[in-house]
Amino acid sequence: MRYRNIAAVAVSTAVVASLAAACSSGGSSSSGGSGGGGSSGGRGPITVVQGKDNSNTIPTLTQMWNSTHPNEKVTFKQQSDSADDQLSDLQQHFQAKDPNYDVVSVDVIWTAQFAAQGWIEPLKGQYALPTDALLPATVKAATYAGTLFAAPSSSDGGLLYYRKDLVPTAPKTWDEMIADCKKATAGMGCYAGQYANYEGLTVNAAEAINTAGGVFVKEDGKTPNVDTPEAKKGLDFLVNGFKQGYIPKDAIGFKETESLNAFQTGKLLFMRQWPYGVSILNTASNSVVKGKFGIAPLPGLTADKPGASSLGGHSWAMSVYGKHKATAIDFMKFSESDPVQKYLLTQASLAPVTTALYSDPTLVAKAPYLPTLLQSIQNAVPRPVTPFYPAVTKAIETNVYAALQGQKSSEQALKDLQAAINSAASGGG
C-alpha cells in the first residue's frame, strides 16, 4: 500500500477540486438578468418560493395555473417554517444573484429592505399591477419610495379573543377591558398578547402605541417620532399591565403558541391573537373554550375608534435576476384573482387582500370572523417601512422588553428607542 502516494493524490485532488469549483462556479454569480427593463419576451417556466405549506395548498394552485399555462409551468419551492430562516434563505439567494428564484413570498416587513437592495423588480410600466380592489393598508405596506414593489397576496390583522360566557359584550376601550378583569375566575389571567423578545413583541408594542395615537417613525419611514406623550400612553398600557397585574407575569415569555395555549386551557379572559387561532380553539382536544369564545376588533383608547392592529400577511415579489418576468407578473396577478383568494381562505385560513371578498356571503359563512377581521385590517398600521427593518425591530424589541420587565421606565425606554431607531436608520446597529 502506498500511503504517501495515496495521501498525495488525495490532497492534490482536493486542491484541484476546490480550484475547479472556484473557477467554474464563477459562472453562476455573473449570470442574472439586468435590473428593470428587459424584453417582454420573458416567458417560460418559473419557480415560486414560499414558506412551509402547512395547509397543502400547493398542489391545487399548481394545477390551477399549469392547466391554463402549459408552456409556463410553475414549480413551488417550500422553505422552512421559521420566518428567520426564510429571510436568510432569500437574502442568500439574492446576494448570489440566483436566477432560479423567479417569484418569492415576502413578509410585509421585508419588502422595503429587498426593494432598497435592488433585489426585487418595481411593479410599474410593463409590470404594473392594479391596486384599486386591494385593501389600502396592504398596498401601503408593499410600497417603498413611492413605488409598488410587491403584490399583496394574503393579509392578517390582530383580533381580540374574549370569553363570551363570562363577558357577554366585548370591551371597546382599554378602560372597559381592565374593568372587565374582575369577571375573570380564579386562576385566570386577564389579558395577554405576545411579549417575548421577538418580532411578536414589535407587533404588540406597535398596536399599543398606534392605538394611543403614537407612531414609531414619521411618514418618511425613517425619522423616529416615538418619544411623544401618545406613545408613552400606549406603552404604559402594557407596562402597567405587568405592574398592576392585568397581564400575568409569565406572559413575558409568550409567543403565539404560549398565549394560545393559555387561552385554550382557560387561563386567560382576553387574548390578542392572529385569526389562525379560531379553528384551533374550536377543534383542539384540550380546548376548554369551544363555543365559549368570541372575536372582536382590538379595543381602542376611546369608544369611537377601534384599536389599531399591526398589519400582517405576505406579498409576492419578482426577483430582478429571474429570466421569465412576464410569466412572473402574470402569476402574481393570478394569485390576487378571486378564485385563488377564496381558495386560500377556505383551505389555509389566509385572509384575502381584496376588499370586496370580505362581504362575500359564502366566505363569511365559512369564516364568521371575516367582517371583524376586515375592520381590524382597515384600522391596521403597518410596522415601520424601512430598509433597516431588522435593526429597527431589534431596537423596538430590546427597549420595550426592558420596559415591560421593569428594568427601565417607559420614558427612558422611549428616549432610548428614539435614539436607537435614529442610529439604525443611519446604518448602524
Binding site: 502506498r2 504517501r4 495521501a7 490532497v11 464563477g26 454569480s29 417554517d81 446576494q95 448570489a96 403558541t257
Partner: protein
C-alpha cells in the same frame, strides 16, 4: 506506643484506611457515596432525556421523573420528513465526518511523523503555528469564508461544510499523532533500517501498523468533534437541509408552526447520542489515553 495505626503498605489498587480501627469507616462509605454522586451528576440528565424521548407528546409537560406514558411515536416522528429532514442529517453527519477525518488524518500523520522524528529548521515555529491555528475562534474564519463560499456557490454544499472543519481536525491529528510517534521507541525503525529498509518503507511497514491503535483513536476523536460542531455548520449550510449535520437539524427541529416539540426533540437527540455513546464506551480506554496523550508520562 504510637497512637496511630500504621496500615501495611497497600498495593495501589485498594483503599487505605486512614483512621484508627475504631469508628465509622468514613473513608469507604465516603468514597462510595461520592461515586454515587458522580454517577447521578453524569447520568441524571441523560436518563431524563431517555424518559422524555419515550413520553407521549401530549404529556410533554408532565414533570414526573419516572417513565410514564410510554410510546414510540416520537421516534417515528423523528424520521417523518414533513417538517424535518433528520434522517438525512444523520447521513450527512457520516459523510462530513468521514471526509474530514480522512483528510485530517491523511495530511496530519505525515506532519506528525516529521515533528516526532526529524530535526529541521522552524520545527517549533511550525508546531506553534499549528497550535495558534487551532486557537482561532470559529467566528474568525466564518465571515470571510461565508462571503467566499457565497461567491463560489459553495454555501449549502458538502464541500462548504467539510473544508472549514479541517481547520480543527488537522491540528488535533497533528497533536495526538506527534505525541504518539514521539513516545514510540526509535529502535524499531532503526532495526528496520539496519535490515535495509528505506525510511519510507520503515514508515509503511513498521511504524504505521504499530500506530494503528493511535490512528484509530485519533480518527474517533476527530469524528466525534465533527459531530459536535455547530457554529460553522449552522451558518454555512445556508438552509439547505440536504447537507445539514445532525446538530443543526436538531437545533431547528420543529413539529409544526405552533408547537414546541419537547419529546420529539428528545427522541431525535437520543438517536444521535446512542451510537456516539456506544462508540465512546467501547473505546473508552483508547479515548482516555488519547485525550491525555503524553500528559502523564515523564
Amino acid at each position: 506506643m504510637t497512637s496511630s495505626v500504621q496500615a501495611p503498605p497497600a498495593p495501589s489498587g485498594e483503599a487505605t484506611i486512614e483512621q484508627p480501627k475504631r469508628g465509622f469507616p468514613w473513608g469507604v462509605v465516603g468514597s462510595y457515596a461520592s461515586i454515587i454522586i458522580i454517577l447521578i451528576w453524569c447520568l441524571a440528565p441523560f436518563y431524563y432525556m431517555t424518559i422524555m424521548a419515550f413520553r407521549d407528546p401530549n404529556y410533554a409537560l408532565d414533570t414526573s421523573l419516572l417513565p410514564r406514558h410510554l410510546t414510540l411515536s416520537n421516534f417515528k416522528y423523528a424520521f417523518n420528513t414533513t417538517n424535518n429532514h433528520f434522517g438525512r442529517s444523520l447521513v450527512n453527519g457520516v459523510i462530513i465526518g468521514t471526509c474530514v477525518t480522512v483528510v485530517g488524518m491523511a495530511v496530519g500523520v505525515f506532519a506528525a511523523y516529521a515533528m516526532a522524528r526529524l530535526q529541521f529548521r522552524f520545527k517549533y515555529a511550525i508546531l506553534g503555528a499549528v497550535l495558534a491555528a487551532s486557537m482561532f475562534p470559529g467566528v474568525a474564519i466564518l465571515t470571510p469564508l461565508f462571503q467566499l463560499f457565497s461567491n463560489w456557490g459553495w454555501l449549502g454544499t458538502y464541500q462548504g461544510l467539510i473544508v472549514p472543519q479541517i481547520s480543527g481536525a488537522l491540528p488535533l491529528a497533528v497533536f495526538i499523532l506527534t505525541s504518539f510517534f514521539t513516545d514510540m521507541p526509535w529502535e524499531l525503525e532503526q532495526a528496520a533500517r539496519v535490515d535495509g529498509a528505506t525510511p519510507g518503507q520503515a514508515f509503511r511497514l513498521v511504524i504505521l501498523p504499530l500506530a494503528a491503535p493511535a490512528l484509530f483513536t485519533c480518527a474517533i476523536l476527530i469524528f466525534l468533534s465533527v459531530w459536535n460542531e455547530y457554529l460553522l455548520s449552522s451558518v454555512l449550510y445556508n438552509g439547505n437541509d440536504n447537507v445539514a449535520p445532525p446538530t443543526v437539524a436538531l437545533a431547528k427541529f420543529t413539529a409544526g408552526p405552533h408547537v414546541i416539540p419537547y419529546t420529539q426533540t428528545m427522541a431525535a437527540g437520543l438517536i444521535v447520542v446512542i451510537p456516539l455513546v456506544i462508540v465512546v464506551l467501547l473505546c473508552q480506554r483508547r479515548i482516555v489515553s488519547g485525550l491525555t496523550a503524553g500528559g502523564v508520562k515523564g
